[in-house]
C-alpha cells in the first residue's frame, strides 16, 4: 500500500471544508468521540443535517473567524491507499499557505462552484498548481445539487476550464461533477447524475497512478550527515547519510560530488542492518565510496552521467511569503537541499498578476507576490530546473534578521 498526498484548493464558499468532511465521513474515517463532538456541535446545515465542515476546523482563531488560516493535515485510508490531505486556505491573502501545502502534493483537487463556473480564484489556484508542478489535477465541480444536476452546466464548465488549463500548461486533468453537501460522487457514485460515467472522487484518488522518477540520470543524494563511529572496530568507517531525492543509485555507479567535482564509485549502500543493491528516490540510506574524498553536509552526490547545473547566478520563480517586502539590497540566506548560504535577489524580471495571469512590472515584491527573479548565491548551487526535477529545483529564502522563511524558489536555469 502506498500514500497519496493531495491538496484541496478552493474556499469555504465553494464547499471545500464540506468536501473534505464528506470524504472523511463517508469513508468512515471519523472515530466515535470525534463524531460525538460533531453531533454535539450547534452548527447545522439549513436542513438540520450535520455540518461536516466542522471536521476540518482547527485553531481557535479559525473557528472564531469561520475560515481556514493555516494548512491542516488530515489522514485517512481505504483498503487501497493511505491519504494525507493538505487542507489549505483558498483566499488570495493566504496564497503562501496554498503554496506551502502544494509543495508536497502529488495531486490537487481544484473546486469550482457549479453556479459560478470558472472564476478569478480558479485561475489563481490553477496557476499555483502549475507553478508548483503538482503532477495530477482533479477539477471537482461542486454544488451540482444547486444546478439540478445539469449535464449542460457541467459540460460548459469543463469546456471553459480546458481553455484555462491550456493557458497555464496543466495536463492530466480529470473532471468530476459532485455535491459534497449531498454526497454525490464523493465516495459513492451519484444516482442523480447517471450521465456521468467516470469514477467518484474517492475511486479516482484510490486508483490514480503516482509515478517515481527513478532514472539514474536524475540520481541525487544530498548529504545530510557523515557517519564516522571512530571506534577501534570501525576505524575506517565513513558513510554518507541522506535521502535520495530523485533517481536511483546502484553499487558500482560512477558518481560525482558537487560542488567540488570529485568523482568516485559507490562501493556499498546501507539501510541500518541491510545492504540493498539499489537506493531509490525517497529512501534514506548511507552510502560508501571507493575513494576517500572530502565530503560534508551540504554536498550532493550525483550520477556522473547525468549532472545537474552548477551556478551561482540563477533565474527562478519566486513566491514571497513575508509581510516585509523583498529588499534587493539585502543579503538573505538560501536553503537548497542541505546547503544554506548567503544570497541576494539581484534582479526582479517581472511579477505575475495571479488572478489574470498578466505580467506586472511593479517594483515591489510583497507578501503573496509571485514572479520571476535572478538570484545570486555566495557559492554555486548544484540544481536541476524545477520543471524537470522538482526534488532538486526547490529552495527557500530565509531572512537572516528574523530567521523566518520568507520566500519559495523554483529554480529555472543558470544565467551566465
Amino acid at each position: 500500500m502506498d500514500i497519496l498526498k493531495f491538496i484541496t484548493a478552493g474556499s469555504v464558499d465553494d464547499g471545500k471544508s464540506t468536501l473534505i468532511g464528506r470524504l472523511l465521513y463517508d469513508s468512515e474515517a471519523i472515530l466515535a468521540d470525534q463524531l460525538e463532538a460533531l453531533h454535539a456541535s450547534n452548527r447545522k446545515n439549513d436542513d438540520g443535517s450535520i455540518d461536516l465542515a466542522i471536521l476540518t476546523d482547527g485553531l481557535k482563531a479559525e473557528r472564531e473567524q469561520g475560515i481556514t488560516i493555516d494548512v491542516a493535515y488530515k489522514y485517512f485510508e481505504t483498503d487501497k491507499r493511505k491519504f494525507i490531505i493538505a487542507d489549505a486556505p483558498g483566499h488570495i491573502q493566504y496564497t503562501r499557505n496554498m503554496v506551502t501545502g502544494a509543495s508536497n502534493a502529488a495531486l490537487a483537487i481544484i473546486l469550482i462552484d457549479a453556479r459560478k463556473g470558472v472564476v478569478e480564484q480558479t485561475t489563481r489556484h490553477s496557476f499555483l498548481v502549475s507553478l508548483l508542478q503538482i503532477p495530477q489535477v482533479v477539477v471537482a465541480i461542486n454544488k451540482m445539487d444547486m444546478v439540478d444536476y445539469s449535464e449542460d452546466v457541467y459540460k460548459q464548465i469543463v469546456a471553459d476550464y480546458k481553455k484555462l488549463a491550456a493557458k497555464v500548461n496543466l495536463d492530466n486533468v480529470t473532471y468530476i461533477p459532485v455535491s459534497a453537501l449531498k454526497g454525490d460522487n464523493i465516495v459513492y457514485p451519484s444516482s442523480k447524475m447517471t450521465w456521468y460515467l467516470g469514477d467518484s472522487l474517492l475511486q479516482h484518488l484510490e486508483n490514480v497512478e503516482i509515478t517515481i522518477d527513478d532514472s539514474s540520470a536524475h540520481a541525487r543524494l544530498p548529504v545530510q550527515w557523515v557517519v564516522r563511529p571512530q571506534t577501534d572496530a570501525l576505524h575506517d568507517y565513513r558513510g554518507y547519510a541522506g535521502r535520495v531525492s530523485s533517481g536511483s543509485f546502484k553499487v558500482n555507479d560512477k558518481v560525482t560530488v558537487l560542488p567540488s567535482g570529485f568523482s568516485s564509485t559507490i562501493s556499498k549502500i546501507e539501510v541500518y542492518d541491510k545492504q540493498p543493491a539499489e537506493a531509490l528516490a525517497g529512501m534514506s540510506v548511507t552510502v560508501h565510496l571507493q575513494d576517500n574524498i572530502d565530503i560534508s553536509r551540504g554536498d550532493i552526490i550525483v550520477n556522473s552521467a547525468g549532472q545537474p547545473q552548477l551556478s551561482n547566478v540563477i533565474e527562478a520563480d519566486l513566491c514571497w511569503m513575508d509581510t516585509r517586502p523583498l529588499d534587493t539590497s539585502l543579503t538573505y540566506l538560501v536553503q537548497h537541499n542541505t546547503k544554506t548560504i548567503r544570497c541576494k535577489i539581484q534582479e526582479i524580471i517581472y511579477k505575475v498578476n495571479i488572478n489574470t495571469l498578466e505580467k506586472d512590472f511593479d517594483e515591489e515584491f510583497k507578501l503573496n507576490d509571485i514572479g520571476r527573479i535572478v538570484i545570486k548565491t555566495a557559492e554555486p548551487l548544484a540544481f536541476d530546473p524545477y520543471q524537470v526535477n522538482k526534488a532538486n529545483g526547490g529552495a527557500i529564502i530565509i531572512d537572516s534578521r528574523t530567521n523566518v522563511t520568507v520566500g519559495a524558489l523554483m529554480l529555472r536555469q543558470s544565467v551566465e
Partner: protein, 301 residues
C-alpha cells in the same frame, strides 16, 4: 518514470530518518524527548536506523513526573542499557521542591500540567536548541496544523499564527539565541501506522500496552489504575479488570481500556476496529475544546 514502489511504512520511515538527520545536521545541542510511550520508543528505533553504527548525536531526555507506571521505568532503564546512549532525567519533584510549581490538590490532582515547567527548565539548563518529540498530526486538531520544525520562543510558547512556511522537505532550523525548535519526525504517522511499524520491526514495548489484570477505579466515566498517586476517597470502588493502556503518561491522567489484547496482533485488530480516538483516553485533553492548543501555546510538547 515508473510506478511508485515504496511501501507506506518504508516511506514514513525514510521521512522520519531524514528529519532526524536534519536535526543532527542543523543544531548544536539537540535532545530526544523520551516518555516511555510507544511513539518515543519508535523514535529511538528510527534514531538507531539514522545514526548507527555511530552514536546518537543527542541524549535522550525523560521528564519524570514521579507518578510513573513502574513498567515504564523498568523499560526505560533496560533500553538505555541495551542501546548505550546517554539519558538525562528532569524531575518534576525537583521543580516542586524549588518552589517553581505548586502541587495540585483535590480529587483530580495530577502532575501532568506541572511537567511543562520541568521540561522548560531542563531545556534551559542543558541549553538544548532542538527537542525531538513523538507527536503526530492525527492525534488532535491543534497538532494537525503544527510544523515538523516548530519554533518556540524563550518561554517555550507555540504561536500558531506565526508559524514558518514549511515547503517541500526543506526544514528551516535557524533560530535566535534562547529560542528552540520542537521537531516531530513522525508527524505524518497515524496511531495504526506506529503499531504496524512496531510489529514489522519487532520493537519491544512496556508491558502495560498489553492486556493484564489490574485494580482500577472509575473516574469521570474513565477507567483509572488504582495507585498511591491518585487521591481516592470512599466513593472510589476498586475493581479488578482486564485492561491495557493506549498511551503511556502520568498515572493520574492516563486512562485504561478494558481489553483482552495480549499480543500485538490483537492490539492492531482492536485499534483498527476501535471507535474511540487515542487521545480520547487522555483526561488532560478533555478539559476544553481547545485544551491541546492552549497547552501547546504554553510550551507543552
Amino acid at each position: 518514470m515508473s510506478k511508485y514502489r515504496l511501501d507506506y511504512l518504508d516511506e514514513l520511515e525514510a521521512e522520519a530518518i531524514y528529519i532526524l538527520r536534519e536535526v543532527a545536521g542543523q543544531f548544536e545541542k539537540p535532545a530526544l524527548l523520551f516518555s516511555g510511550g510507544k511513539d518515543s520508543i519508535t523514535l529511538v528505533h528510527l534514531a538507531l536506523k539514522a545514526f548507527r553504527p555511530g552514536k546518537f548525536p543527542f541524549p535522550l531526555v525523560h521528564i519524570d513526573t514521579g507518578h510513573n507506571f513502574e513498567e515504564t521505568i523498568t523499560y526505560r532503564d533496560e533500553m538505555i542499557a541495551r542501546i548505550g546512549e546517554k539519558l538525562i532525567i528532569g524531575h518534576v519533584q525537583d521543580t516542586i521542591d524549588e518552589g517553581k510549581v505548586i502541587e495540585q490538590t483535590g480529587k483530580n490532582a495530577s502532575r501532568n500540567p506541572l511537567q511543562t515547567i520541568t521540561l522548560l527548565d531542563t531545556i534551559a539548563k542543558n541549553k538544548f536548541d532542538a527537542c525531538i518529540g513523538g507527536a503526530r498530526r492525527d492525534e488532535e486538531k491543534a497538532r494537525a496544523k503544527e510544523r515538523i520544525f516548530s519554533v518556540r520562543d524563550e518561554f517555550g510558547q507555540w504561536d500558531p499564527k506565526r508559524q514558518r512556511p514549511e515547503l517541500w522537505d526543506i526544514y528551516n532550523g535557524k533560530i535566535h539565541k534562547g529560542e528552540n525548535v520542537r521537531v516531530f519526525p513522525i508527524s505524518n504517522w497515524t496511531e495504526l501506522d506506529v503499531w504496524n511499524y512496531i510489529r514489522r520491526e519487532n520493537i519491544p514495548l512496556p508491558t502495560i500496552y498489553f492486556a493484564h489484570q489490574r485494580d482500577c477505579i472509575t473516574r469521570n466515566g474513565q477507567l483509572m489504575a488504582a495507585s498511591p498517586f491518585l487521591n481516592m476517597d470512599d466513593e472510589d470502588v476498586i475493581t479488578r479488570k482486564n485492561v491495557r493502556f493506549r498511551t503511556v503518561g502520568d498515572m493520574t491522567c492516563t486512562a485504561a481500556v478494558e481489553s483482552y489484547a495480549f499480543e500485538i496482533d490483537d492490539i492492531i485488530d482492536e485499534i483498527a476496529s476501535s471507535k474511540i480516538s487515542e487521545r480520547g483516553a487522555r483526561m488532560d485533553d478533555k478539559v476544553s475544546e481547545a485544551a491541546m492548543e492552549d497547552r501547546k501555546k504554553g510550551g507543552y510538547f
